[in-house]
């Protein structure tokens, strides 16, 4: 789960690189970013559950 979250953040990092310097996301990038952020939230929630149980 730790890796999944880190890898999701890495995918977000790549979007930041591809859109530098203004980070104006096109429709496709916006959809992808939303998907990644939702995944990340789920992954962080799972981490909380697993590590703090």
């Amino acid at each position: 789960m730790t890796f999944q979250a880190l890898f999701t953040l890495t995918d977000l990092r790549i979007i930041l690189r591809e859109t530098a310097p203004k980070h104006d996301l096109d429709d496709k990038q916006r959809v992808e970013t939303e998907r990644l952020l939702e995944n990340l939230e789920r992954q962080v929630a799972s981490l909380k559950q697993e590590m703090l149980k």
């Binding site: 890495t10 990092r13 790549i14 930041l16 530098a20 310097p21």
Partner: protein, 393 residues
């Protein structure tokens, strides 16, 4: 934000368009970044190292397969990974050059090629580039004949850069290799700016060695690179150890002296491996990179007085610009002197130009999106406008 005490988190490529001439082709792919996270520990790729205990035999992670794939991709017979192209130069020079041997380089060769020759005790004999900064086969013939006459014997090795670091110009390695082979001189193809950037076919080029840089052109962490060769030359440069300890009688299996045994034992190799599928794909689309380069070059040339010193039309994205007749004129009277230019670029989200440079400087457009190329071209025009430099209509 810091990674650790005194170490700032590096966000250069997240915050700006990076046009540093040596950095663009080495930026990691997302997969390489992920692999780096997982394999950061020292000997991380060695968990499943089994007899005969050599890096290029490890099958999990698939390092052996990677070596075979890289050899096939370059159309060569054998490959080793090395800690940077320079260590590939060094291995080959150390194998073939003895004290006082003449070695062919060019007037555009990288300094590490000179150091490799020096380390082996050789003499540097440069094939001069012509007025267009191109190294030709005709010049190679003249140089070989000159060396033969002056030194009394032929060069023992030739280092030829396909694309040079000074102008990003493309040189006819195939024709130069043909000339060298007519004199029985083995040829090392320096692909530091090509392997991982555009298609390279070693057998078609007729070269004995192909050297590539992982951190310069294969989206891999530094220091990394590859040395590829033919079956015949592999027996020489990748010869195995024969040394025996006089007290312990120890032998060292199939370790290779020129490689100092195993080479890239962790994050460098795994990063190169993770990027490799993307690198194999991207070389097929180099034309897109040239199109982005054309957009940026056109933007620069629209500022009156600007010249491109590299060959035109561009065959590579590494480009040398002369702005003595344009941006440098402003530097003469600007309170920030030449720094006004790099500062203006930074303010607009562009990085990688040497701070203070306004006369002759290099940039590389490799890896940017078309949108970024268009933006970068506009940035150069905007800086010209803001400083009342005339534009070509």
């Amino acid at each position: 934000m810091r990674c650790a005490s005194g170490i700032e988190a590096r966000q250069v490529d997240e915050l700006a368009i990076n046009i540093d001439p040596i950095q663009t082709g080495g930026r990691l792919t997302g997969d390489a970044m992920k692999a780096v996270i997982a394999y950061g520990d020292g000997y991380s790729v060695c968990d499943n190292c089994r007899k005969p205990n050599r890096l290029d035999y490890i099958s999990k992670p698939p390092i052996a397969e990677f070596h075979n794939d890289v050899a096939a991709w370059l159309n060569m017979d054998a490959v080793r990974t090395v800690p940077g192209a320079r260590r590939g130069f060094q291995a080959v020079a150390h194998t073939y050059v003895r004290k006082g041997d003449p070695v062919l380089l060019t007037s555009l060769s990288h300094y590490t090629e000179f150091l490799a020759v020096e380390g082996a005790g050789g003499i540097a004999c440069e094939i001069p580039a012509n007025d267009q900064h191109i190294v030709t086969p005709e010049a190679a013939v003249l140089k070989i004949e000159e060396v033969k006459k002056k030194v009394g014997r032929l060069p023992v090795l030739a280092f030829i850069d396909h694309v040079d670091y000074q102008f990003g110009n493309m040189h006819d390695v195939k024709a130069i290799a043909k000339v060298c082979h007519q004199y029985d001189i083995p040829v090392l193809y320096n692909g530091a700016y090509t392997v991982g950037i555009l298609p390279v076919n070693g057998k078609d080029l007729g070269v004995d060695f192909v050297v590539g840089s992982g951190h310069k052109s294969m989206s891999a962490p530094a220091p990394s690179g590859i040395l590829a060769t033919t079956t015949e030359r592999a027996a020489e440069v990748f010869r195995t150890t024969a040394i025996i300890g006089d007290v312990t009688q120890r032998k060292f299996g199939i370790k290779e002296p020129e490689m100092m045994g195993c080479t890239l034992m962790g994050v460098t190799l795994i990063g190169m491996m993770a990027s490799f599928p993307h690198v194999k794909e991207r070389v097929k689309h180099f034309e897109r990179e040239l199109e982005n380069n054309r957009i940026v070059v056109d933007g620069l040339l629209s500022v009156e007085g600007t010249k491109i010193l590299s060959e035109m039309p561009r065959k590579h994205t590494l480009t040398r610009a002369d702005t003595i007749g344009s941006f440098d004129k402003i530097a003469e009277s600007h309170k920030k002197r030449g720094y006004y230019f790099s500062n203006a670029l930074e303010e607009k989200g562009v990085t990688g130009v040497i701070p203070g440079a306004t006369k002759i400087w290099k940039f590389n457009t490799y890896g940017m999106t078309k949108k970024q190329a268009v933006y970068l071209a506009e940035v150069f025009v905007d800086i010209a406008r803001e400083n009342d430099l005339p534009l070509r209509v």
